[in-house]
Amino acid sequence: MSVTRGVAAQPIGSERAVARFGKFKGWVLIYIAVAVLLTGVSLVVGTSSVRTSLGWLMSPAVLSDAVLWDIRLPRTLGAWSAGALLGLAGAIAQSVFRNPLAEPYLLGSSSGAALGVTLSLLVTETSLTGLAWLGQLGLTGAAFAGACAGITLTLALSRGVLQTPSLLLAGVVVAFLLGAIMSLLLLRSPETWRAMQSFLLGSTGFLGWRSVALLAVVLAVSLPPAGLLSRGLDALTLGEDTAWSLGIPLASLRLALLGLLSLTTAASVSQVGVVGFVGLVAPHLVRESVHVNSRQLIVAAPLCGGALLQAADILSRWIIRPSELPVGIVTACLGGTYLVVLLWRKAQRE
């Protein structure tokens, strides 16, 4: 049976039979190297000049040690971890929904988490920095519970797990609904409104070692199951009917993936607030640089997302030093620009 009867598809450069596995490993190393580099940069960037910071590294003192090891280092590691969680969540979301525009906050998880934090702030009258360091179940639990509630509401609205379009639609509806409730609550209490603004724009400002620990644990707990389920994700790209016929338990797979999505998103949101674009852009960046199957995407997207948020954190501290921008604004600018470039390039190709 000959192959090239009829119209033959043009082989595109990157599709040539290169040692595909080797290329993937190369990119993994690149992402790790970038993360290490950014960690180093992060240590010397902030309210002091690079020279001063380097001076601190040479001759330690109490205050400068506090800045370097209690503020800058956990901050950058926390940013990496949160970015990794978002990258993982984005990869899962885009795979489950088979939609390149899917992002972690799709199913109402961010509005649910925000509402949970709002309620918690209103009820207990705790502060926003309490948010970042509380490694215990307090505010993180509120954010997580809120994220779960948001996703549950979405599932209920779409009447089941198996219809993707209705899931997406329900997610949009829930996001609006919960956002409206949150705005209503905040209107009654202007002080909480100011605190929530900080949360909604995203902030890596108060990430300490406890936050890092929490984020790292969630990442370690989420990656193995996600890698395991990636085979099902691959099957899902062929359509739900085919996946089902291959023996993939669709409903359980969905639930498990949505559970992971909810866990990773909630953990990230509870520590750094609502940071957009990282979850959307990281999987894209990975797929644009090297072709990957689902399992490889699950590994690479977190690495990419981590580096992205690290970079955004550094920029947010450096651009208007000693003031700082909310990191969500930086990611929006970076991410938005990248998406515009992507669209432009796609248009060029066609």
């Binding site: 902030g46 309210t47 002091s48 109490v62 205050l63 400068s64 506090a66 800045v67 209690d70 503020i71 800058r72 956990p74 901050r75 009258e125 705790t126 502060s127 926003l128 920095t129 309490g130 360091w133 209107l187 202007p190 002080e191 100011r194 605190a195 900080s198 902030s203 400002g205 108060f206 990430l207 300490g208 070692w209 501290r317 030093r321 000693p322 003031s323 700082e324 921008l325 909310p326």
Partner: protein
């Protein structure tokens, strides 16, 4: 700033108008507000709407409280104001509430959307600048002219300035040797009060040093490590945030946190500090009292 010549102009105009009109009972009142919008009233207003707490307080300090018909939800002093109908905040004004109160004039701070809407409905709207200490005196004068009680206004201004100077001078003398380094946090973010802000001016006047410099602006959003590096002696912060300071990464090294030199004020007291209004002297007193207590 354009407020200086503006203040002079308004003051002069007011003086001219009131002199020419005697008790200003019959002659029309012509004033320019902070946006240089001309205001023309036949006689002093008897129904006043105020959408900013400091303006409400000014009206009441000028003994014209009885003329207030509707205020914003944040106006809470004096107690009699609580009985009045509330028309929302500045950004989310309840237009109907204001219109149904049929005010002769509406006192607002800078809020373009609200202004457009109210003026479009035919109301007389007077805009005020309320950012700095200098604005207090000017606003008192203007409102006094507006209400036809310029002498009372002048007296109130003198009284405010005298009490403030009295408190400030006493504070300066007692804090002179210590000259504490201070950080005033306005909001979690963290947002600090710079020297150019109203609060910053107060702190400067009582002789403490601000960790923020003027070039950062009035309310910059800070990198938390800035505060750690500056190592202030005293931190001003809200009561809900105060117990969590020690948990902010690196902040346990700050002298103010280590030695528990924190100043928090209950909301009622905080109002006198953050509102550039006639009760500013009380704000000074609160600041000074706490400083004298906790400063090293």
């Amino acid at each position: 700033m354009r407020s200086r010549p503006g203040a002079l102009l308004v003051g002069l105009l007011a003086l001219v108008c009131t002199c020419a009109a005697g008790r200003a009972a019959d002659a029309p009142i012509v004033l320019f507000d902070s946006a240089h919008h001309e205001l023309r009233l036949e006689h002093p207003p008897t129904r006043i709407a105020s959408l900013l707490p400091s303006l409400t307080e000014t009206v009441c300090e000028l003994q014209e409280c009885g003329h207030l018909v509707v205020v914003d939800r944040y106006s809470n002093w004096p107690a009699s104001v609580a009985q009045l109908p509330k028309a929302g905040g500045l950004e989310d004004v309840e237009i109907e509430q204001i219109v149904s109160a049929r005010p002769d004039v509406v006192l607002v701070a800078h809020a373009p959307r609200v202004l457009e809407r109210l003026r479009g409905l035919g109301l007389v709207v007077f805009e005020f600048e309320t950012q700095r200490y200098a604005d207090i005196g000017r606003n008192v004068t203007v409102i006094g002219a507006l209400l036809g009680v310029p002498e009372r206004a002048a007296r109130l201004n003198r009284q405010i300035e005298d009490s403030v100077e009295e408190v400030a001078a006493a504070a300066r003398s007692r804090l002179a040797e210590r000259a504490p380094l201070v950080y005033f946090e306005v909001d979690s973010g963290p947002y600090g009060a710079g020297p150019q802000s109203f609060i910053g001016e107060m702190l400067g006047r009582i002789g403490v040093r601000n960790i923020l410099t003027a070039d950062l602006g009035p309310f910059p959003r800070l990198n938390p490590e800035y505060v750690v590096r500056a190592n202030p002696d005293v931190i001003f912060i809200s009561p809900t945030e105060a117990p969590h300071l020690i948990h902010r990464p690196g902040w346990e090294r700050i002298r103010a946190v280590r030695e528990q030199r924190i100043c928090s004020f209950p909301p009622a007291v905080r109002d006198t500090i953050v509102r550039p209004g006639p009760r500013v002297a009380e704000g000074y007193r609160a600041l000074t009292e706490c400083l004298l207590r906790v400063a090293p």
